[in-house]
């Protein structure tokens, strides 16, 4: 467990670099950053946030099931967690696609018609958007792979109240990925919104 906590601390520093870059540029170009919020679909982002939080809930229930030697529940909750995780990635893919269609992918014909004076800083924000959510998505995909491994092992009845450490550790990883999203969502989606 200590190993997993230590690894997660390295991940904090890793994402922290990007959050640092975001902080610097947002401070330099507040107007431009606020103007990008019209392209961020708060409904989709909010849905994704809810989906991830639910997936963390099902993950915790999975760990609990392992601790109580409840194989069927463990399998059920692992599958639910994976469904939620995949749903998140599906929504993300849809969002990425719509960004592509609207020419908002930096380096691939980026355009910013509605506020041309913000072109370059907006490009910066979108670069950070893709970097940060992309890194997050990669971590989610890895997480899905780890959950698949857990599922296979759970089907083989490998976990019970004496041995559930991998479920706990991967659960911790999953929660971390969720927490990263909790920070990403307001910073990327909710700036400049006047709701």
């Amino acid at each position: 467990m200590l190993g997993m906590w230590t690894f997660l601390i390295t991940e904090v520093l890793f994402f922290g670099g990007m959050f640092g870059a975001y902080a610097v540029y947002r401070n330099m170009y507040p107007g431009a950053f606020a103007s990008t919020s019209r392209y961020m679909d708060v409904v989709l982002g909010g849905t994704n946030t809810a989906v991830l939080i639910c997936s963390s809930l099902t993950m915790v229930l999975a760990v609990r099931a392992a601790q109580l030697s409840k194989r069927k529940d463990l399998i059920l909750f692992l599958i639910l967690t994976m469904i939620f995780g995949s749903a998140f990635l599906g929504v993300k893919a849809f969002e990425y696609h719509s960004k592509w269609v609207e020419h908002l992918v930096p380096g691939f014909g980026f355009q910013y018609e509605h506020a041309p004076e913000y072109l370059h800083p907006a490009q910066l924000l979108f670069f950070l958007y893709f970097c940060m959510t992309g890194m997050h998505a990669i971590h989610m995909i890895v997480g899905l792979g780890l959950l698949t491994y857990l599922l296979v092992q759970a089907v083989r009845n490998q976990y019970n109240e004496y041995y559930f450490a991998p479920v706990e550790m991967i659960g911790l990883y999953w929660h971390f990925v969720d927490v990263v999203w909790i920070f990403l969502f307001p910073l990327l989606y909710l700036i400049g919104q006047r709701h």
């Binding site: 390295t10 890793f14 640092g20 870059a21 540029y25 930096p106 370059h120 490009q123 970097c131």
Partner: protein, 539 residues
């Protein structure tokens, strides 16, 4: 000795038993071979560009020179110094010193070596294709936009090698927390373990920031999104902040393990417990913490705000204090000790003297006024080579000599080793002391040509470099020789204290037949015992 004993080197045979091993001792040996190769690659670059500096107008083109010093820096920093002691000596010794059979995560240990090799392959590919010319610091926007060299390949090599470093640090942290033998309390840990534990903390916290910095640089280079490009709103100084946030702590990754080695050697060859054990242990932790808040001292001339510079300058002075505490404690350990002058101790003396010079010149650089005058000159080059080469490499060689009998079961030839140590010491000072003067006189670094009045000092420096190169070759030869032909060593040829000296030389695969129970304090020397002559080593 009638029968050949089984130990970790001969327990299993075949290349698979080495390439798929999980034995921390074998992995340490794999690393030792790899980093030695990289050391010679980086060293060759140095020889070449020092030849260039024999003539004021240079011998190679500026392009070539830029690539040579850049690759020298990248290879030496990321592929030699950062892994050096942690991946070799610490990998080998930490489990034994705490009474464990292996590290906490043996397979991750092996994985970290493979990751290192993949990173090294990227770096070698970059070198073969012509290298990068950005300097090891990869400053934007040159590296991100304008350079025509293999920035991406080299950057990917560094990115990958960073994960090797993170995994090693993670392994050490968990091992020291969770795998100490009964009775091995924190205050009984050898100082070498404390030093590598602190190093592991820095590796784990700092290297991810380098990873993301290099990744952002790669995206900038591929997609020109503008994160570091001032033409489209980016900020090149952001790159410098992000880069130095890792690279400053990195230099402490590159010195703390060396300090741990020196603590062990000085204690053994003074036949005395290290003076101020708690101070040395906590100073390692203090250095680890303070190392993260001084990065701005690399950027005093980049337009940092005045108060920011003052804060970084003050903190840089503070970070020198724990290092100085160690130097005082080592010296105090020798006072009224029974000092002998075997090769490891000679390297320790060299370290203490040269690291002190390097560290003091670091203070000149922490002071704002003198830094503005010497930034970007050879003064800086001399400063960091004094601490890195005069310090860390000396400590590495000292540690190799000290633990060689334990690692290989053989002794190296003492006369040759003392001779080599002298050659290295003389060569090192001849190479780098003139560079302090050159820097003070204003010769800038990273220039292939220079004003003719600097030639004499440059020639001295190059002469020193050749001597230093020969000095490094000699141990390679006699170490290799000793593996087959050196006299066999006993379990404790130095009569040293510490768990590693209680087991056979070389150790068996699982180190201990039974987990030891530790009842004594560390460094159970008493000053009255005299050191036995070398003849008793054989047996």
């Amino acid at each position: 000795m009638a029968t050949e004993e089984t130990h970790y080197l001969n327990a299993t045979h075949g290349w698979k038993s080495w390439l798929l091993t999980t034995d921390h001792k074998r992995i340490a040996m794999l690393y030792l071979i790899s980093i030695t190769l990289m050391f010679f690659v980086g060293g060759t670059m140095a020889v070449l560009f020092r030849i260039n500096l024999l003539q004021p107008e240079g011998i190679f083109s500026a392009e070539t020179y830029n690539r040579l010093f850049s690759m020298h820096g990248i290879v030496m920093v990321f592929f030699f110094l950062v892994p050096s002691i942690p991946a070799t000596l610490a990998n080998f010794l930490i489990p034994i010193m705490i009474g464990a059979k292996d590290l906490a995560f043996p397979r991750i240990n092996l994985l970290s070596w493979y990751i290192y090799i993949i990173g090294a392959v990227f770096a070698m590919f970059a070198i073969i294709r012509g290298g990068v010319d950005t300097g090891w610091t990869f400053y934007a926007p040159y590296s991100s936009t304008y350079s025509n060299s293999y920035v991406l390949t080299a950057a990917m090599g560094v990115f990958i090698a960073g994960f090797s470093s993170i995994l090693t640090g993670l392994n050490f942290i968990v091992t020291v927390h969770k795998m100490r033998a009964p009775g091995m309390t924190w205050s009984r840990l050898p100082l070498f373990v404390w030093a590598n534990y602190a190093t592991g903390l820095i590796q784990v916290l700092g290297t991810p920031v380098l990873a993301i910095t290099v990744l952002l640089l790669a995206f900038e280079r591929i997609a020109h999104v503008g994160i570091f490009d001032p033409n489209i709103g980016g900020d090149p100084i952001l790159f410098q902040h992000l880069f130095w946030f890792y690279s400053h702590p990195a230099v402490y990754i590159m010195i703390l393990p060396g300090m741990g080695v020196i603590s062990e050697i000085v204690a053994c060859f003074s036949r005395k417990r290290p003076f101020g054990y708690n101070f040395i242990a906590f100073s390692s932790m203090g250095i680890a913490v303070l190392s993260f808040v001084v990065w701005g001292h690399h950027m005093f001339v980049t337009g940092e705000a005045m108060y920011t510079s003052v804060a970084f300058s003050f903190l840089s002075f503070m970070v020198a204090v724990p290092s100085a505490i160690k130097v005082f404690n080592w010296t105090a350990t020798m006072y009224k000790g029974s000092v002998s002058f075997d090769t490891p101790m000679l390297y320790a003396f060299g370290f203490i003297g040269l690291f002190t010079i390097g560290g003091l010149t670091g203070l000149f650089l922490a002071a704002l006024a003198t830094d503005v005058a010497t930034h970007g000159t050879y003064f800086i080059v001399a400063h960091f080579h004094y601490v890195m080469v005069g310090g860390m490499v000396m400590a590495f060689l000292g540690g190799l000599h000290f633990w060689w009998p334990k690692i290989t079961g053989r002794m190296y030839p003492e006369a040759w080793s003392k001779f080599a140590c002298m050659i290295i010491f003389i060569g090192f000072n001849l190479t780098f002391f003139p560079q302090f003067i050159l820097g003070y006189l204003g010769m800038p670094r990273r220039y292939h040509a220079y004003p003719p009045e600097f030639q004499a000092l440059n020639v001295l420096s190059t002469a020193g470099a050749s001597i230093l190169g020969i000095g490094y070759l000699i141990p390679m030869i006699y170490f290799a020789w000793s593996i087959k032909f050196g006299p066999k060593a006993s379990a404790n040829p130095w009569n040293a204290a510490g768990l590693e000296w209680q087991i056979a030389s070389p150790p068996t695969t699982f180190n201990f037949d039974e987990t030891p129970t530790v009842t004594e304090e560390a460094y159970d020397y008493d000053g009255a015992r005299y050191y036995e002559p070398m003849e008793e080593v054989v047996g």
